[in-house]
């Protein structure tokens, strides 16, 4: 894919920033929720790529670990405008919301000794629990669709025993699972 001409380089960088800034500021519900927004900017608004290409990139992004939104932003930025485009797109999607977080939490922390601020912390815990519970359920459901209920339940029980009771670092278990899947692939 040809990089853009130097003459419209600045305009492209501006567009990359504007597109991914909107994605970052409008995407509620974490990175996966912002995928349709990225598609809208990349395919419809700026026509950096067609729909099929976008689907390919998304599929590849999903085969790799880590947050999906920054992988998409970084890769699209890199493909359209090199290393600078990559840094630009990532910064646009990440930095504004991180700054918001820091401002909010730091100002909240300066009121920490007030009992009503401690009450706020307490009040929000059950909501976080509900959101995590819903997320847990969606992962379990997806797991039982993709590998069958028995296998998913079995793996869940084994994971629970190893991590929660035997204190195994989750990294070892996840790495082992990845190696098992990859090992199987070479045989077929």
């Amino acid at each position: 894919m040809a990089r853009s001409q130097p003459t419209d380089g600045k305009k492209l960088q501006r567009q990359l920033f504007a597109g991914f800034f909107r994605v970052g500021m409008l995407g509620y519900g974490g990175g996966p929720a912002s995928i349709p927004l990225i598609q809208k900017e990349a395919v419809d608004t700026y026509q950096w790529m067609d729909e099929e290409e976008f689907a390919d990139i998304l599929a590849i992004g999903n085969t790799l670990p880590g947050p999906i939104a920054t992988k998409m932003a970084g890769y699209i930025g890199w493909r359209k405008a090199g290393a600078l485009g990559m840094a630009n797109a990532i910064a646009a999607s990440v930095v504004p919301t991180v700054i918001l977080m820091v401002i909010l939490l730091v100002s909240l922390a300066s009121f920490r000794e007030y009992s009503w601020v401690q009450g706020m912390t307490q009040g929000v815990l059950p909501v976080v629990a509900v959101m995590l519970g819903v997320l847990t359920w969606s992962f379990l459901k997806k797991a039982s669709v993709s590998m069958g209920g028995t296998a998913a339940a079995g793996l869940a029980v084994v994971s629970a025993v190893l991590i929660e009771w035997l204190g195994l670092h989750p990294a070892f278990l996840i790495a082992a699972l990845i190696l098992i899947v990859l090992g199987r692939r070479s045989r077929t």
Binding site: M86, V98, M101
Partner: protein
């Protein structure tokens, strides 16, 4: 050294979290709360709640804030780099190779295989948050807030911002004593 620890704490979740940012949350909690003891469960919950109330990718908001809280701007950069760079570098380097395998069912198995484990980690975190809420504000408030927010979020599809703002207000009014 704090920058190296921050890098490690966010490198592992970034490289092991299949299923996007939300899948990395329990891995981040494991490092931040249990391994390095930078935060208590309550503090982590507060950061997570505010992160969920704000737009944008959740993993980078968590990394950016925790990095900043532990070691200022350089800490923020270390944590963000660890979250973003490894998987992005892999993607850019392997895109040609991965293109060939993108429809392979075996590749899809990769994220499928770790899902039950991620679910267990998320479930364990859910229980820890409920326990902490119960210890702090008792069964009645915990069940009430959890029940109402579940109803609003899941049954009425109310935006999380409003539910979290509501819970903050409820906490300030009734749980501050």
């Amino acid at each position: 050294m704090i920058y190296w620890e921050l890098f490690l704490a966010f490198f592992l979740p970034g490289i092991l979290g299949y299923g996007g940012g939300p899948a990395t949350i329990p891995l981040i909690e494991y490092e931040v709360v249990h391994r390095y003891n930078w935060m208590t469960v309550e503090e982590f919950g507060e950061v997570l709640a505010l992160g969920n109330a704000l737009p944008g990718p959740i993993a980078t908001k968590m990394a950016g804030y925790i990095g900043y809280a532990e070691a200022g701007i350089p800490g923020m950069i270390a944590a963000l780099t660890a979250t973003i760079a490894p998987s992005l570098i892999l993607m850019i380097a392997l895109v040609g190779l991965l293109m060939k395998f993108r429809d392979s069912p075996k590749v899809k198995q990769l994220s499928a295989a770790v899902r039950p484990t991620i679910a267990v980690l998320l479930g364990a975190m859910t229980i820890r948050f409920l326990e902490t809420a119960y210890e702090g504000s008792g069964a009645l408030h915990t069940v009430l807030i959890a029940g109402v927010s579940f109803y609003l979020l899941e049954k009425r599809s109310v935006h999380p911002v409003w539910v979290i703002l509501g819970a903050l207000l409820y906490g300030a009014l009734f749980l501050g004593g």
